[in-house]
C-alpha cells in the first residue's frame, strides 16, 4: 500500500518511542535560546502597539481610522478576512487529510491547529472593533431579552458570520485541545516539576492511555472532524456572503463562496508552510517534518494557485460578459487599470504566478524557496481581500461619491498588533505545548521505514 521507494519514510531515522517523545518535547523541557526571547520581545512590542491602537479606537471612535462616508470598511475587514483565511489551515489540514487518509499530516496538524485557534481569535477581534458601539456588541447575540424582545436580523450575512465564526472557533478549539490530551499526559508523566505536573495533569484530564480512552479519543476525533469538515467549507462561504449578498459591483457575485474557501485554504497552507519552514530548522525537527512533507504542501499550493488563477479570470470574464457597466468599471478601470492597479496585479502575481515556481522540484526542496513563495502568497491573499473590500467601495455607482481610501497609523497599528499577538501566541505554543502530536507521530513512526519491509 505505502510505497516506500517512491515516497520515502513518513518519519526519518527509524526512532524509538522514547526517542520521539524526547525529541519532540525537547523545546518544552529545555530553556529556549536567545532568539526566542528576542522574537517574543519584538512580538510583544508589536502587540502593545496594537493594544494602544485598540485603546485609541475604542476611546475616541472609528474616526481615528481612514474609513469614510463611501468606504465604510477598510483595513479592519481586509484583515478580518485575511486572518479567517489563515485560520483555515489547521482544520483543513487535519480534516481533509484525515478524511483522505494522508497520514503524513500527523507531524504538522498540531501546529496548524494551534495557528488556527490563534488566527480565528485575532480575526474575531476585527468585526468587534469595527463596530461603532462595540459596547453594544451583544445586540448581535440571538437570545430572549428584555428589549422587546428584539431579535437579530436573520437575513443579515453579518449575523451568519457571527454564528459561523463562533461555531468555528469553538469546534477548532475543542478539536485542537482534545487532540492534545495524550500529549499532556505524556508531559505530565515525564516532567519532574511538581507545578508542571499539576498543570499538565489538569489539562490532561486524567488520561491514562487505557484502550477505552483511546477508543473514545478516536471516535471523538472523527465526530469533531466530521463537524469541522463542514465548518471549513461553511465559514469562509459565509464570510464571502458578507460581500456576495451586497449590491456593490465586484461584491455581488455567486462565485464568491467557493472562491473564498479555496482562497482561505490557500492562505492557510501558505502560513503553515511559512511557520514550518522556520520551526523545523530552529527546533531541529527535520526528521519529523520532512522535506517530503514540505514538498507535499507545496504541491497542494501549486494546485490551489491554479484554482485561484481560474477564479480571478472567471471574475474578470463575468464582469465583462455581464455587460454591467458598474462591474466593468470596477474590474477594468479600478482594478486592472486605475487607482488600485498595484493591489490588483500584486494579487495576480503573488497568488497566481509566483506559486507556479513550485512546479520545480528544486524550489520545493529549498527552504528559502518555500519560505519566499509562501510569504508572497500571504501577501497576495492580503491584496486579494483589499481588492475586494476597498476597490469596490471606493468607486461604485454614483461618481459623486467616489473617494480614495488611505489607512491611518491606528488602523495599521491594530494590524501590526495582531501580527504581534499571533507571533507571541505561536511562540508560547512552542514553549508550552508539544509542536507535534507525539502520540500520533508514534503511530506512524514506522511507516516507510525499513523495519516494516
Amino acid at each position: 500500500m505505502y510505497n516506500r521507494k517512491i515516497r520515502g519514510p513518513l518519519i526519518e531515522g527509524d526512532k524509538t518511542f522514547s526517542q520521539i517523545s524526547k525529541e519532540i518535547l525537547a523545546p518544552m523541557e529545555t530553556t529556549p535560546g536567545l532568539w526566542w526571547y528576542i522574537t517574543f520581545g519584538i512580538s510583544s512590542i508589536a502587540a502593545l502597539f496594537g493594544f494602544y491602537a485598540i485603546y485609541i479606537t475604542v476611546s475616541q471612535g472609528i474616526g481615528t481610522w481612514g474609513v469614510n462616508n463611501s468606504v465604510g470598511w477598510g483595513w479592519e475587514i481586509v484583515n478580518f478576512v485575511w486572518w479567517i483565511g489563515i485560520g483555515h489551515a489547521g482544520t483543513a489540514f487535519s480534516i481533509f487529510l484525515l478524511i483522505m487518509r494522508q497520514r503524513w499530516r500527523t507531524s504538522i496538524n498540531r501546529a496548524a491547529e494551534a495557528m488556527t485557534v490563534i488566527a480565528v481569535m485575532l480575526a474575531a477581534l476585527f468585526p468587534a472593533l469595527h463596530m461603532g458601539r462595540v459596547w453594544l456588541a451583544f445586540y448581535i447575540f440571538p437570545y430572549p431579552n428584555t428589549r422587546g424582545p428584539l431579535w437579530v436580523n436573520f437575513n443579515s450575512p453579518l449575523f451568519w458570520d457571527f454564528v459561523a465564526i463562533t461555531a468555528y472557533l469553538l469546534i477548532s478549539f475543542s478539536f485542537w485541545y482534545l487532540g492534545m490530551l495524550p500529549d499532556f499526559a505524556t508531559i505530565r508523566d515525564r516532567t519532574k516539576s511538581k507545578i508542571k505536573k499539576a498543570i499538565y495533569g489538569f489539562f490532561g484530564m486524567g488520561w491514562t492511555g487505557s484502550s477505552q480512552h483511546w477508543i473514545r479519543f478516536e471516535s471523538l476525533s472523527f465526530v469533531l472532524g466530521g463537524i469541522a469538515a463542514v465548518l471549513v467549507v461553511s465559514v469562509h462561504s459565509i464570510v464571502s456572503t458578507d460581500f456576495a449578498v451586497g449590491i456593490e459591483p465586484g461584491w455581488h457575485t455567486t462565485l464568491f463562496p467557493p472562491y473564498f474557501v479555496v482562497g482561505a485554504i490557500f492562505s492557510g497552507f501558505a502560513m503553515v508552510m511559512t511557520l514550518m519552514v522556520i520551526v523545523r530548522k530552529i527546533y531541529k525537527l527535520t526528521d519529523y517534518i520532512t522535506d517530503n512533507h514540505m514538498d507535499a504542501i507545496a504541491r497542494i499550493l501549486v494546485f490551489i494557485s491554479l484554482i485561484m488563477g481560474t477564479a480571478y479570470s472567471t471574475e474578470v470574464f463575468i464582469a465583462w460578459y455581464s455587460g454591467n457597466e458598474y462591474e466593468m468599471f470596477t474590474f477594468f478601470r479600478n482594478r486592472i487599470t486605475g487607482d488600485y492597479t498595484f493591489q490588483f496585479w500584486g494579487m495576480i502575481v503573488c497568488n497566481a504566478l509566483i506559486p507556479q515556481l513550485f512546479w520545480f522540484r528544486k524550489v520545493r526542496r529549498s527552504w528559502v524557496g518555500l519560505l519566499v513563495v509562501s510569504l508572497f502568497i500571504n501577501l497576495g491573499m492580503w491584496f486579494e481581500r483589499f481588492n475586494i473590500v476597498v476597490t469596490s467601495l471606493s468607486k461604485d455607482f454614483l461618481p459623486s461619491n467616489w473617494v480614495s481610501y488611505n489607512p491611518t497609523y491606528i488602523e495599521i497599528g491594530v494590524y501590526v498588533g495582531t501580527l504581534g499577538l499571533f507571533a507571541a501566541g505561536v511562540l508560547l505554543f512552542f514553549r508550552y505545548i508539544p509542536i507535534i502530536a507525539v502520540s500520533e507521530v508514534k503511530s506512524v513512526a514506522h511507516i516507510g521505514n525499513k523495519k516494516e519491509d
Partner: protein, 988 residues
C-alpha cells in the same frame, strides 16, 4: 378593631400557604430579613453570606457605575400663556443683514428660535429661502456675539456710554464738527426716518451707506439714464430671452432668492402659454448662474465692454438707431442680437460688473429692446443696495484729513471689507468720537472708542421696505440673550428721546401706512401686519422711464484700454458665505460651494488650459500677487487667462470658525473711475509647488456615461416628453420580483425632485442641517470625506473641461422600497415602515457600517466621533449657547451610529397627529420636508404617493420621471424629473 377586607375566601379564612402569588414577595422579604436587627446575633449560613455578598456587590456596582450627568431643567415660575411645552410657535418676521432680505417665519420651541422658514405671504421670496437665511438662526447662538457695551475696550454700562456720547456729540455739534453715520444699506423706512431726524439735530451731519459688495455702478447708471438711483427689479417670469454678463443672479447677485423663483417659473417646459426662457450667460468663472444657463460663453472681464458695445451696435443697426464705433467681430453676438430682437420687450440684458459705463450700455440695450415696460421694473425697484462708492471714498478721505469729528458705524465691517482698510483705520484713529454698532465680533470691533453691540435680528423690532409698497415687519422672537441694544434705540437715546424704538416704529406705521390699509382701528392693522409679517399697498405707477442718451454717448466714446496680457483675477461673492459677514457660522463655513464643491477655504480657480500650461494641479499653492497665495483649483469652464477667487474669507477677528480660514481678498479691490472693481490683473501666476489638501466634498466630476442625470432639449421634449428618459420604460418593463410586492395602505411617502427647476443653490442642505441637528465636522474631517450632510447637491460636468455643461442633482436617502441597506443590518436597526419610510433606530444601531457600504447611493452617514460636547469639534454643538439651536424633536446622535435622511419623520408625525386630533384626513402639501420648504424654486415636492390626486403623484406620472439607479431594482421613493435644456446645439 379595624374592619377586615378580603379578596378571597382563602384569605378570609387565613389560608395563605401554597399561594404562588406570594412567593415573589416571600423571596424579597427573605432578602430583607437578612438586614434585621438580630442579623448579627444569628448564625449566618453560607447561603446568607452569598446573598449579602451578591446584594452588596450588585448594589455597589449599580451605585458606582451608573452615575449620570446632572442636567438641570428649570420650570417656569410664571408660565407664559402662549407657550405649551413641546409645541412650536411661529412668528412672522423679516431677515435683513444689510445685504440680503427675506420675509420669514421663525419656529420657536419653548421660547427658543430653532428654525427659519420663508414666509409664504411674502411676495418677495415666498416660502423660499437661501442657505444664509436658513443658517442665520445659528448666528443667534454664536459665542462670538458681542455681549455687553464697552468703552475703550473695557466693559461699561449703557448709562455711562450714553452720557459720554451725548456730551461728546453736544461738544462736537457746538463746534460745527462733522458727524457721520456710516451704515450698511438701510431698507427700514422707520429707521431712515429716524436717521434723518437724528441727523437734523446736528449742524453738520452726513449719512453714508456702504456695501461690502457694491452695486454702485447700477445705481449711478440708472441715475444718469433714468434719473433714479435704483436697482431695478428683473421680471424673469415675463422674459423669454435673458442675456446676463458676469451677474450671478441665481447665486449671489442682488437677491438670488427673489430671482430664482421668477427665473424657474419660466423654465418649465410644459408651459403652454409662455415659451420656456432661453438664457445665455457670459462670464469668466463658472458660477451658479452660468451652470444653469442654456448657453454659457467664456469671456475675460476685459472683453465685457467690447461685447456689450458690439451687441448694442448690432441691435441698433437692426432697429435703425445710432451705432457707435466698435469692432464687430463675434458671430455669436449676431445670433444673440437676432434672438433678443425676436423677443423684443420680452427680454432682459443684465450685467453684474461694477462699472458705470458698462451699466449704461446695458441700459441702452434694454432701452433699444423696450424691456423697461414688462421685464425691468424701475418703479418697483429692489431696495437692496444703496451704497455709492464715491461717497465712501470721500468719507475715508475726510476721515484722514481730520474733517470728520464723530463717526458712528452700524452693521459695517470696513476694517475687513473696505479695500484700503489701513487707510480707513488711520482715519478712524484721527476721529474724536467713534462708535461701532454691530452684533457680532468682527475686524472693526475694538477699533472704535465705544462698542454699542446691537441685537441679533431675531431679538429686535424692525421694518423693511424691500420693494416700494411692499413692507414687512420684524419682531423679537426671543428676549435679548445679552446686554445689547438695538441701533435705533441707541439713536433715540442719543437724540435725547425717551420713546422706545418699538413705539417710534409703531407711531410711524400709524402715520404712514395705516391710512393706506383702509382698515378700522390701528391696533387691528398692526396686529394683522405683525401676524402676517408683511403689508403691501399700491404705489401709483409713475410715468415710464425716459432714457437719457447723454451718458450712453459718453460711455461709448470713452475708450479705455482693454485687453491685457496678464491673468485677470476676478474677486467674486461666495454663494455660501456671501460678503463674509457670516463666516463664523459653522453651517455656512462647511457648506460646499455649489460648483466647486469645496468648503473651509477660498481657492484660486484656474482654467484647465492654464493649469496644463503652468503645470498647476489642484491643491498647489499659487501666488497671484504679493501677499496672495492660495491653493489652486482646476475649475472646468473657467475662462482661459482668468482666475476666480471668492471674497468673504481670511478673517482675523470674527470668531473661532472664521478666523484663519482662507485669505481676505477685499484688499485687492481697485478703485477705477470712482467705482470699486472686483478684480485685478496679475502678470504671472507663480506656482510655489507647495501642496495643500483642499476640503473637497466631491472629486469625480463626470457621470461616466451612466444615466444619473437624464437630460433632453426642448425641441425633442416637445415631440416626446419622455425623451432622454427612454431607459425608464425599458427598466420598468423588466421589473420582476419573486416576492409579493408590498402593498402600502394609507400612506406611501414619496418625493419628486425636478432637476429642471433645481438651480443648485444649496438652501435645502442647510435647511436639512438645521431641522435635523446635523453636526458640523470641521475641515479635517471634510478632507477625509466625512461630511455629515444628509442632503447634498451633486454636481456633474459633461462635454469638455474647457466648456462643460453643468448638472445639479440633490441627493438624499432614496427611501427604497427594496432597500439594500435594510436586509444587511445584523440587528435590524434600519427597517421599513408601513408608510414606505426607510427608518433608522439609533438606539439599536451598533455601527457595523454594512448599510453604508451596501447603499448604492452612499447617503448614509456615520458618527465617526462624538460630535457633541467634544472640544475636538469646537463648533455649535460643543457650546451650551450653540446647542440652543437644536431641534428637540430630533435625537442628537451618539458616536458610532449611522444616520441619514428620515423624510423629516418628525414633521410627518406632527401633522398626522394634528389631523387626527382635528378628525380629518391629511391634506396634500400639508407635510413639507425641510428641504422642500426651503427650496426657492419649488423643485422638491413631498407627498403621499397613494393619494392619486397629490402633487407628488402627479409628478410621478410625468413622463420625465425616473429613479436614480433604477436598474438596481431598489424601488426608490424619490423620483427625479429629467433636465430640459432650451438649447438646440447641445450634444445630448
Amino acid at each position: 378593631m379595624m374592619k377586615k377586607y378580603w379578596k378571597s375566601v382563602e384569605e378570609f379564612q387565613g389560608i395563605t400557604a401554597g399561594d404562588d402569588r406570594n412567593n415573589e414577595d416571600k423571596y424579597k422579604n427573605e432578602l430583607l430579613e437578612l438586614f434585621k436587627k438580630d442579623f448579627l446575633s444569628k448564625n449566618s449560613s453560607r447561603r446568607d453570606f452569598l446573598k449579602v455578598f451578591g446584594f452588596s456587590l450588585s448594589s455597589a456596582a449599580l451605585i458606582a457605575s451608573c452615575k449620570r450627568p446632572v442636567q438641570k431643567a428649570i420650570p417656569y415660575v410664571i408660565h407664559p400663556p402662549e407657550i405649551t411645552p413641546g409645541k412650536a410657535l411661529f412668528y412672522a418676521t423679516s431677515y435683513y443683514d444689510g445685504h440680503e432680505y427675506s420675509g420669514i417665519l421663525v419656529k420657536t420651541r419653548d421660547g427658543r428660535p430653532i428654525k427659519i422658514e420663508g414666509n409664504i405671504l411674502s411676495s418677495f421670496n415666498g416660502e423660499g429661502t437661501t442657505a444664509r437665511v436658513q443658517a442665520s438662526v445659528l448666528s443667534l447662538y454664536d459665542d462670538a456675539r458681542l455681549k455687553f457695551p464697552t468703552s475703550d475696550n473695557s466693559p461699561a454700562s449703557w448709562n455711562t456710554i450714553d452720557e459720554q456720547i451725548t456730551n461728546d456729540l453736544a461738544k462736537i455739534n457746538s463746534a460745527e464738527g462733522e458727524i457721520v453715520l456710516l451704515t450698511s444699506t438701510v431698507i427700514s423706512p422707520s429707521t431712515i426716518k429716524l436717521i434723518n431726524e437724528f441727523g437734523a439735530r446736528f449742524r453738520n451731519f452726513r449719512w453714508v451707506q456702504y456695501d461690502a459688495i457694491s452695486y454702485s455702478a447700477v445705481l449711478e447708471a440708472n441715475l444718469m439714464c433714468f434719473g433714479k438711483a435704483v436697482i431695478p427689479d428683473y421680471h424673469f417670469h415675463n422674459a423669454g430671452f435673458v442675456v446676463s454678463v458676469n451677474a450671478d443672479f441665481l447665486g449671489a447677485w442682488v437677491s438670488p432668492v427673489h430671482f430664482i423663483q421668477k427665473y424657474v417659473s419660466r423654465r418649465i417646459p410644459d408651459n403652454k402659454e409662455k415659451n420656456m426662457l432661453r438664457h445665455i450667460h457670459f462670464e469668466s468663472g463658472l458660477s451658479l448662474t452660468g451652470s444653469n444657463a442654456d448657453k454659457r460663453i467664456r469671456i475675460k472681464p476685459s472683453e465685457e465692454r467690447l461685447i456689450l458695445t458690439e451687441l448694442y451696435n448690432r441691435i441698433a443697426a437692426k432697429t435703425g438707431e445710432e451705432e457707435f464705433p466698435g469692432v464687430a467681430g463675434r458671430t455669436d453676438l449676431a445670433e444673440i442680437a437676432d434672438n433678443l430682437l425676436a423677443s423684443k420687450g420680452k427680454s432682459i440684458v443684465l450685467s453684474g460688473t461694477n462699472d458705470v459705463e458698462i451699466q449704461i450700455i446695458v441700459n441702452g440695450i434694454n432701452t433699444l429692446l423696450g424691456n423697461y415696460t414688462d421685464c425691468i421694473d424701475l418703479n418697483r425697484n429692489l431696495n437692496i443696495a444703496a451704497g455709492i462708492d464715491s461717497r465712501t471714498e470721500e468719507l475715508v478721505a475726510d476721515l484722514n484729513s481730520g474733517k470728520v469729528k464723530a463717526l458712528f458705524m452700524y452693521n459695517v465691517n470696513p476694517v475687513y471689507d473696505y479695500p484700503d482698510s489701513e487707510k480707513f483705520l488711520s482715519g478712524l484713529k484721527k476721529t474724536e468720537l467713534t462708535v461701532n454698532m454691530t452684533g457680532s465680533l468682527n475686524e472693526t470691533v475694538g477699533k472704535a472708542k465705544y462698542e454699542c453691540p446691537v441685537h441679533h435680528f431675531l431679538e429686535s423690532w424692525d421694518d423693511a421696505e424691500i420693494i416700494p409698497g411692499q413692507l414687512s415687519l420684524s419682531q423679537p422672537c426671543i428676549n435679548p440673550l445679552f446686554n445689547t441694544r438695538s441701533f435705533q434705540d441707541s439713536l433715540l437715546k442719543w437724540s435725547g428721546s425717551s420713546i422706545s424704538w418699538h413705539d417710534y416704529m409703531m407711531t410711524n406705521w400709524e402715520k404712514e401706512y395705516f391710512p393706506k390699509a383702509k382698515m378700522s382701528g390701528f391696533q387691528n392693522f398692526w396686529d394683522r401686519s405683525l401676524g402676517n409679517g408683511v403689508f403691501s399697498y399700491n404705489i401709483s405707477d409713475s410715468k415710464p422711464a425716459i432714457f437719457n442718451k447723454e451718458g450712453l454717448i459718453r460711455a461709448m466714446n470713452s475708450r479705455e484700454k482693454t485687453g491685457t496680457d496678464g491673468f485677470e483675477v476676478i474677486l467674486n461673492e461666495s454663494v455660501t458665505l456671501g460678503t463674509g459677514m457670516h463666516a463664523n457660522n459653522p453651517w455656512l463655513m462647511e457648506l460646499p460651494d455649489p460648483v466647486s464643491r469645496h468648503c473651509w477655504d477660498n481657492i484660486a480657480a484656474v482654467s484647465p488650459a492654464d493649469a496644463l500650461k503652468l503645470g498647476i494641479q489642484t491643491g498647489h499653492l499659487i501666488k497671484l500677487a504679493d501677499g496672495l497665495i492660495l491653493p489652486a483649483f482646476i475649475q472646468p469652464g473657467q475662462a482661459e487667462g482668468t482666475v476666480s477667487v471668492a471674497l468673504g474669507y481670511g478673517h482675523t477677528n470674527s470668531g473661532p470658525v472664521a478666523n484663519k480660514v482662507g485669505v481676505n481678498v477685499y484688499t485687492f479691490i481697485r478703485i477705477i473711475g470712482g467705482n470699486r472693481v472686483y478684480g485685478f490683473i496679475t502678470n504671472e501666476l507663480e506656482n510655489t509647488l507647495k501642496q495643500s489638501q483642499l476640503a473637497l466634498t466631491q472629486v469625480h466630476h463626470s457621470m461616466e456615461g451612466r444615466p444619473i442625470v437624464r437630460e433632453t432639449v426642448l425641441s425633442k421634449y416637445r415631440n416626446n416628453p419622455a425623451s432622454g428618459n427612454e431607459l425608464h420604460e425599458e427598466y420598468e418593463s423588466k421589473h420582476r420580483t419573486l416576492y409579493p410586492e408590498v402593498n402600502y395602505d394609507g400612506f406611501h411617502w414619496g418625493l419628486a425632485i425636478d432637476l429642471n427647476l433645481c438651480v443648485g443653490c444649496n438652501s435645502c442642505v442647510i435647511a436639512c442641517q438645521a431641522e435635523n441637528n446635523i453636526p458640523v465636522v470641521g475641515r479635517e474631517e471634510v478632507k477625509r470625506r466625512r461630511i455629515m450632510h444628509w442632503m447634498k447637491i451633486d454636481r456633474y460636468y459633461s462635454d469638455t473641461p474647457d466648456d462643460p455643461k453643468v448638472y445639479f442633482q440633490p441627493l438624499t436617502c432614496q427611501h427604497c422600497d427594496n432597500a439594500p441597506c435594510e436586509n444587511v443590518c445584523p440587528v435590524s436597526a434600519t427597517n421599513h415602515s408601513s408608510e414606505g419610510l426607510n427608518q433608522m433606530s439609533y438606539n439599536r444601531c451598533i455601527g457595523t457600517k454594512y448599510c453604508i457600504n451596501n447603499c448604492p447611493y452612499k447617503v448614509r452617514r456615520f458618527n465617526w466621533y462624538r460630535y457633541t460636547n467634544n472640544k475636538a469639534f469646537d463648533f455649535n454643538a460643543a457650546s451650551d449657547l450653540g446647542k440652543m439651536v437644536l431641534n428637540p424633536d430630533v435625537t442628537v446622535r451618539e458616536r458610532g451610529v449611522v444616520e441619514k435622511c428620515s423624510f423629516c419623520v418628525q414633521r410627518i408625525q406632527e401633522k398626522k397627529l394634528q389631523a387626527k386630533l382635528e378628525n380629518r384626513t391629511l391634506k396634500d402639501n400639508e407635510i413639507k420636508t425641510a428641504c422642500m420648504q426651503a427650496c426657492p424654486s419649488g423643485a422638491i415636492i413631498f407627498g403621499n404617493l397613494k393619494d392619486r390626486s397629490s402633487k407628488v403623484s402627479g409628478l410621478f406620472e410625468n413622463p420625465r420621471r425616473y429613479h436614480l439607479l433604477e436598474e438596481l431594482h431598489t424601488l426608490p421613493s424619490i423620483g427625479y424629473l429629467t433636465k430640459v435644456w432650451n438649447d438646440e446645439e447641445s450634444k445630448s
